[in-house]
Symmetry: C2
Subunit: 419 residues, 2 copies
Amino acid sequence: MDQTIKSRPMHAQSVRAISECHTLATFTEEPAHITRRFLTPPVHAVHTHLRQRMEALGMTVQTDAAGNLRGIHQPANAPAKRFLIGSHIDTVPDAGPFDGILGVTLALELVEIVQERQLPLSIEVIAFSEEEGVRYGIPFLGSRAVAGTFDEKLLAYEDADGIPMSEAIRSFGLDPTQIPSAAIEPQQTLGFLEIHIEQGPILEAEDLQLAAVTSIVGQTRGTLTFTGHANHAGTTPMHLRHDALAAAAEWITAVETHANSTPSLVATVGKIFADPNATNVIPGTVHTTLDLRHPSDPIRTVAVEALIAQAQSIAQRRGLTAQFTQTMNEPAIPMDLALTANLTAALESTGLPARILTSGAGHDAMILAARIPTTMLFLRSPGGISHHPAESVREQDVEAALHVAANFLERIFATINNT
Amino acid sequence: MDQTIKSRPMHAQSVRAISECHTLATFTEEPAHITRRFLTPPVHAVHTHLRQRMEALGMTVQTDAAGNLRGIHQPANAPAKRFLIGSHIDTVPDAGPFDGILGVTLALELVEIVQERQLPLSIEVIAFSEEEGVRYGIPFLGSRAVAGTFDEKLLAYEDADGIPMSEAIRSFGLDPTQIPSAAIEPQQTLGFLEIHIEQGPILEAEDLQLAAVTSIVGQTRGTLTFTGHANHAGTTPMHLRHDALAAAAEWITAVETHANSTPSLVATVGKIFADPNATNVIPGTVHTTLDLRHPSDPIRTVAVEALIAQAQSIAQRRGLTAQFTQTMNEPAIPMDLALTANLTAALESTGLPARILTSGAGHDAMILAARIPTTMLFLRSPGGISHHPAESVREQDVEAALHVAANFLERIFATINNT
């Protein structure tokens, strides 16, 4: 395997995996943009395209009741337990062509590689119907169904046009009452691999191609409101002010300083509103948000508490109040240790550094991780750009990902046979 | 005079001056709120009410072409040169009852006092039609006409309903082409006194009732835009961010620190917009404003330059850009030294400290100061509150203002007789 990158036997496949992403990008709700929400009409075209490819590979194909397209490659001599590979086929509005989709086109290339190598390993490729949460405000609809954690209350949710999710599913030709039957049997499953673009700048900054993901970070979100006094910007001297924006600014700097000094912590104040928001009036109230993520839940919890305390101390010193309201508190989701160790071993076998990363964003993998051993492989994102038409991948990184994933699957096969 | 406050001979007059403000507050565009823009229908009622009062005092009354109501008290034995006293009768939306108006009701009480004391001094009371700039976005319409600096191009300006200023003037029964004749003859004028609430918290904080104003501060306003890169709040580590809000926050703190360490400087960041302004996205662009005021123009200019340089240095260090656009650059307007000295002397004669203040807000006085000797007397604003229904005055402060202004007018009379 060590020489494969140099001889490039998977070059043609990596080119095809990329070209397939561009083809699938043409199936969109908006001409000239890539926008494909959960079960909207262009999803039919994506399914038709992927189904043809799956059938050409001799796979058994079905669409489950949550709209996930699922192709099974089951060699006659292979154990019945399947290994799952996949990612999502929905997009954010005005998306790039690779977020999600690349994990599906690469999964199909991997089936072809497994077939060429005559590896007796059953593989199920899943093109998840929904991950971004755009249409119904709730992400991971496809993977929740596969994991068996889809809450049927979601079916009553309505999209921006007032269409309930159950009706969207029916309009697509599916039966929402059958969603429970989309769930995998964990006992019949070996594990799940999701290949995805990093959507961040770390690999590029380190001049690396790939990384194994060790966990999806835990996340706290909340709003923080500073309340002081709105006053005349001309007639109120500095020492008699209770300026909510000056207080917020001091806190935003403290948030950044805290994150800079805590390894692996990211903390973001992304939103700000000042009231009355007039050039010549001292802001009386400022609303901000906090988005704080870390792979360790205790470190995250301590950081959030420290930043709230700091906001209150800043406010108190200035004669203001600070009020924090938590809106999200999601624990970190670790990837499976054994699977991830196989992935780092595969990186090294392929001649690449065994770089590990935590994922700062959520993925279908974190939903499946609750039920079955799961891991993720990240590809470098040029410019760190994602959720944007300029999102891209490098061909050599895609080729390296195929090599690593193929090596990983061989290790999985070897593991089954050794146990 | 030193005993007058104790014996309170002007108590009834101060009560009436306040009660008149409350009466005039009932003439409003919006029931239950005080809103009276330039030459809107309730201004007729204000004119009628004030004219009756002026005529009862034996004054000659006319409305000039800019809508200023002007009453002349000219004793038979008095020199023709007049001393002007007044303030404005328009309001901001949902205003308090004293901003402007109190300077008019007190002027009428002063005419009565001058009459009682048989002081041979000609006085013109002016109720300026417009100071706040609400209806046409341009302030000081009334005082510009009186100062002879009204630019006739303004007549074409339209209000929110598309009504040109010339039409608003005509609808009120006036002839806009006659505005030039509203201008005073500086040679025929002794000076101008405007009595106004402080609209700030300084006198209250110092437990003082009144202050003489030495100048209206100069003012710079501008917008400052920080441009970095919007990125994913989860996948972008701290050291690879170009966070426009973190940069803006550092600068807002620097603005406050600079103002805190520069005597008499006030600097305010009142407005802020972040883009894309989403909880989970690092802000790529932040637009802020700067409002900076100081009685010394050179100090103001140096401060603005220092803060722009600081913004650019913060931006550069963070890999962002900072762009400043100046939108206002108004020099400081000094009050007349001799008149203001008479006012501080009057404060002391009345048993009060000779506190001087600069005005952080613009006033009609600064328009008249360009043509004639002008000064202002400030009354304490409880809570520093103005431009708000909770705006108030204390009766004893109004009474003290009457004493001081009456003493001031005696000094003006003495000055004329001595020259």
